[in-house]
Symmetry: C2
Subunit: 759 residues, 2 copies
């Protein structure tokens, strides 16, 4: 099902497909997840949540709950340290300090249904559950703001106190002199779009919208906290980044980072949604209150209603092209819902939207509004799938009007190294052309499609990827193996991809590297597993740690041989002395204890040279016009992966991203009632594709090495979710002539569009 374009490789380990270190544990059920943590005297916590999407909290009375035998503590927002309105730096611009915590436990006002009001700890989870009903809360219910339209209506209710928002620089800038629900606006300009449209032979402008979608990780959020009497707080949790959790807790609880230890357990999926903290601060405060360890886990409904999905969006795209197929100008308007607090992924969407193409004139305008929904979180290439859905739908329409093959049209306009992106910055090494060529030449695209109501769509996507900080520490064992410790939570097989780069660098077998994930007290600072950064940046750290070991091995061999270090070389796992003496890695490992002690390597990096990723997906669908059901018949993901360290896990990323994107295209979407409650907060009603909904996803790995990494690695994890929305929509059009501009394209949407087409 899968083809790999495999160049002749100079590598021994990189490019092979060994078993991941956590494989056996995961298939035998032995792997320890956050909910498996058991501590002596542990209490169980539960969260009392707002039943209203928008309400003033007049009074909270926990006395009846506290009187219930087995209940040992209750905390509310009032128990947390006071936080200021001062902005704190976050990955997406400054957010006031108070807004890092208020989404987690309400302060004065509940801003979404499911907003935590209080948390209770009891000796038994059932007692904790019962205690929730005994916490009396008096609300003053306000009208909920549930869409961009409602949020920006002149007579709308404001979510946040204008006296507060007016204080905060860079957010909630006054609109027409008044505070509003518009949290942030941005504009990126290159060239002059008006001039570009004037020079164009064809100009199309279309409007699109998408629903909120959830990352749908299998494992719900959980946190276990022990706030010890010595003032040290330990957290066991399911997270994409132990250090990120440490930083967040230190901020929210006003502790120095060194007072907090975060132990990342195995993680059952994250996709960006396990970067924020939810339960950790509540468990921590309950532990401080009770003097006991406290564990809280979410139900699936809590995950849907009170963790962070991606934004619902409204997008307008206008593009102009010449008759010869040259794109001239693109204009993109992005309106993203942020949920109840600012933080929608508009900047990433804005940078990605037009990035696959070479056009002189760009204008991207974005704004985000606050609405009475849970605060959005990152979701795999945050914001880009929605933006690219709109852009690639328009590109498809332009190709049709120009009577060009959609891939040839894209190829003609493909961005390449040196061409400027929307922000005016030239692209680095980018594989847009190679990916489009590989897609055009793929078996799938060359195949014919036959049959009624069957169509094919293609779409391209771009994501810039992340770099950030990573550390590595490695210990040479006497048996010739190496224990490798990194701080990157392993979601997609990183323990393997990191061990492989380390083994390759030292010229030792993969099987001899025991690759483990440390906690915040056992390894140097490492940023989140996210931004497609781990195999790239933490990979670089392990390479540097291997170099550190190599240097020490050379010095040690020189000492053992009693020669100058300059006379010793290390290559492919063998030390060589000018005089002809040799020693393998395994041989010197045995001699370390007798010649001065163990050898350890360490490195910490913050690499620039991040390689951007481009993907083109090809999708064949059948549409049942009686029922509106769309069936994906064949699907191929073509992607520039830089250098695939472990091709199977790279393919897995492409397949997983495609499946999630198809879900967003066809089925997945939050459905809200007018009162602000979610109508489909279970896996039964929130319809994610399961195995029998999809064909096997075919993959084509295109390897355009990233010159910014020793082995050419570029991030691969996020961009595969970018093209599917448009690829599916374009295939539906090809099948039945309906341009779907609202996602998910559920049967109801398809039938409506068919009605409209008939009318």
């Amino acid at each position: 099902m899968t083809t790999t374009e495999k160049p002749a490789t100079p590598y021994q380990v990189i490019g092979t497909r060994p078993v991941r270190p956590d494989g056996v544990d995961k298939v035998t059920g032995r792997a320890e997840y956050g909910a498996d943590v058991k501590l002596s005297g542990m209490l169980y916590g539960r969260v009392k949540r707002s039943p209203y999407a928008h309400a003033v909290i007049k009074r909270i009375d926990a006395s009846r709950a506290l009187a219930l035998p087995g209940v040992l503590g209750v905390v509310t927002g009032a128990d947390f340290p006071e936080l200021s309105n001062n902005p704190v730096p976050t990955i997406r611009g400054p957010i006031p300090e108070r807004w890092t915590r208020e989404p987690l436990i309400a302060a004065g006002k509940a801003l979404y249904k499911g907003h935590p009001i209080a948390a209770v700890a009891a000796t038994d989870p059932h007692i904790a559950e019962d205690a929730l009903d005994l916490i009396d809360v008096e609300y003053e219910v306000l009208p909920p703001v549930m869409s961009v339209e409602q949020a920006i209506a002149p007579d709308t209710t404001l979510l946040h106190d204008p006296a507060v928002t007016a204080e905060i620089k860079g957010l909630f800038e006054p609109v027409n002199g008044r505070q509003s629900n518009i949290a942030r606006q941005l504009e990126i300009r290159m060239g002059d779009v008006e001039q570009g449209f004037a020079e164009s032979d064809i100009v199309i402008e279309r409007e699109f919208s998408t629903a909120s979608a959830h990352q749908g990780y299998i494992e719900p959020h959980n946190a276990t906290a022990l706030w010890n009497r010595d003032g040290l707080l330990t957290i066991w949790t399911s997270t994409q980044g132990a250090f990120g959790v440490r930083d967040a807790l230190a901020g929210i609880l006003k502790l120095p980072v060194s007072r907090v230890r975060v132990v990342p357990m195995e993680i059952g999926g994250g996709f960006g949604g396990k970067i924020p903290v939810y339960l950790e601060p509540l468990a921590a405060m309950l532990s401080r209150r009770t003097g006991r360890p406290v564990q809280i886990t979410m139900s699936r409904t809590e995950v849907f209603e009170a963790s962070g999905p991606t934004s619902a969006t409204q997008i307008r795209v206008k593009m102009g092209a010449k008759r010869d197929g040259t794109l001239v100008a693109g204009e993109v308007h992005l309106a993203y819902e942020a949920g109840a607090y600012p933080g929608a992924p508009v900047p990433g969407a804005a940078r990605s939207a037009l990035a696959p193409y070479n056009m002189p004139h760009h204008l991207v305008q974005g704004f985000e509004v606050v609405v009475n929904k849970p605060k959005v979180a990152a979701y795999r290439a945050p914001g880009a799938p929605q933006a690219e859905f709109a852009v690639e739908s328009v590109v498809d329409e332009l190709a049709e009007i120009l009577k060009m093959d959609p891939i040839e049209f894209r190829l003609q306009n493909a961005s390449r190294q040196g061409v400027r992106r929307s922000e005016g910055v030239p692209h680095g090494s980018v594989g847009t052309e190679q990916v489009l060529q590989a897609a055009r030449d793929s078996a799938h695209y060359r195949s014919e499609i036959h049959g009624d109501k069957i169509g094919r769509g293609v779409a391209t996507g771009y994501w810039g990827n992340g770099g950030n900080e990573s550390a590595a520490y490695a210990i040479v064992n006497a048996d010739g193996t190496v224990t490798l410790i990194t701080g990157s939570v392993d979601i997609g097989g990183q323990r393997a991809s990191l061990a492989m780069q380390f083994a390759e660098t030292l010229g030792i077998p993969y099987e001899t590297v025991k690759s483990t994930v440390g906690d915040t007290d056992t390894i140097g600072y490492t940023s989140n597993t996210g931004g497609s950064r781990t195999t790239f940046a933490t990979g670089w750290a392990v390479i540097e740690a291997a170099y550190d070991i190599r240097g020490q091995l050379i010095a040690r061999a020189a000492k053992i041989w009693d020669v100058e270090p300059e006379k010793v070389t290390y290559d492919a796992g063998v030390l060589r002395e000018e005089g002809g003496q040799t020693m393998t890695f395994k041989e010197i490992a045995r001699k370390l204890a007798g010649s001065g002690g163990a050898i350890q390597g360490r490195a910490a990096v913050k690499p620039s040279g991040v390689g951007a990723a481009v993907a083109t997906h090809i999708c064949d669908v059948h549409v049942d016009t009686d029922t509106g059901k769309v069936t994906v018949l064949r699907y191929t993901a073509v992607q520039d992966v830089g250098k695939a360290i472990h091709p199977s896990y790279v393919e897995g990323q492409l397949q997983g991203g495609a499946a999630q994107g198809i879900g967003m295209a066809l089925n997945e979407g939050y459905v809200y009632r007018a009162d602000g409650s979610m109508a489909n907060s279970s896996y039964l009603d929130y319809r994610m594709p399961v195995a029998n909904d999809l064909p096997p996803i075919e993959t084509v790995l295109v390897e355009v090495p990233n010159p910014g990494h020793p082995y050419g690695v570029r991030g691969v994890g996020e961009v595969p979710i970018v093209p599917p929305l448009a690829a599916v929509a374009n295939a539906i059009y090809d099948a039945i002539g309906v341009r779907v501009r609202h996602l998910p394209a559920s049967p109801a949407v398809i039938l409506d569009e068919l009605e409209r087409l008939k009318a």
Copy 2:
């Protein structure tokens, strides 16, 4: 109660008395010991032990036990990998590989009462206990060999198959052409003792004996094992050295060390007795058999009967002196019981016995015999307390005959740097004279003693201390703190003493160093906490790790300031640039993320330059001649501690060692019945001194810096147990004129001696 000779100090941190990092956890009961480990699906193991001290195992039938509901597995010696007779290197000479395991689970023969025959794992500890009785074992009982006399009698029973012992080089050398129970003999000669005795004016020869004594750690042995389906074995245990356990298990189970991860839990005392493995291999095999984690803990009786106490001994000492008080010759014969397998601490005893003195003629002969008792283990300065008891009793008698003050007599003959020890090697820096002078000048020694049957004794002891391998890894946190990871299990406050040396080296406050103990997968190879080595050798590793960080800080500051690294210095926690710019450690810590990533330090050392330790103790006793009870009235421990990093914890070592030595002098001893069973295997009957048995132990810290360590550290933990046996015995003589030559000097022994004196 305590005086410290404190020189003017150049140090900011060293020499202060901060709180240890584990203090709160230990006083609040939160510290996690091995028996606190709880794993999903964990089974409970129990050990079926031989009721006979010496018996052939004819048959083991576990079928009835396996039929008991809840019993999931049984293992016997036959389930373990075959091990050879080839010697493997150990800390005390070569031991056949098979004898590393057979003490832990019998193979063919039970060699002591309590020898494990089988181990069972069940879903509940009570079921496991019940199952023991359902394991049917058929024995052929043999006469037990219970003393040196019995072991060397011509018609004795041999414990080990002569066909096996004849194969092993260096052990069980034939005696008169025949295999025997004499496991090993040694001889150290310097000069010519015969000539020495001929030149002496006074020659005394005396015989002594001591009983086996147990280390008496509060926490019994425990082990939890998970042998995972991926072939990786994880062990949680109470041990003095995680890497030592790893090495032992790898040998016994025939696994590469990297397949074994050992997590050292908090330890409730060890004193040498928690260096060997006992339960770990049994738990591991049961886990492999059942596919589940298995936990085994010992009862107190099992600890007494089946872990390793110190040797019972018989010692003969002959010494000669001139009228002017000059010691001329010393001859020491050491006969030590090894228990059922070779490994008695004869070499350490032999090297220490005469080391406090400068004599031209030395002869030390030692041998060890195997007897039907549990194999002995290390116990704080292993072997030396017994040898020094004998030597210092004779020295006391010589001083009396010479009518010299016992301290002045010792001072006149004190060993010093450059003087050769028994092995002919010259002493390095050694504080014998300074310690004796401090003892002579102490308030205690200068005080008068009054009263009937009250006496004072002094004794000196020597211990060479250990060096060996240590690693350290340190992470600079953004808040200006450092997480410090070492592999040394913390028994006596090492987390503090290591953090202090690290903080001193970097010029940062102690409180900013978070000092933790890693496991075998998180830190480089580190030898056991034992041999008084940890604050010395692991201290050196943390100093080197601090240097590694200092170098990187200088490079980073140079980068931030855009100057050459040569222009930057680091002193007392402050970076300085020639042009006058400065930056504190805390300031640069905050800037690391923005200037290239985290900084980590690493070091691994195997230092030579170990500093030997000398102690002189002063003891006042009252003897009740009606009951035979000896009461210690006042006790002072004077010791060369090199440089006391944390004086309180050094004092604690002196006090603890003195208390244990007093216990061996007065009360503690294994009592065996003729059938080879132990008569006093409980704390009720095995009489250790408790708080109200002893006066506060006064300490005098003499600081003769060890030139072999950056801060002058020398090991302090072991030597304080060496002098008390003789100090107490000499005080008893001073009080009532009885020379006690068998220890413990229990009331019965005292009354017997008084009877003999009268007769």
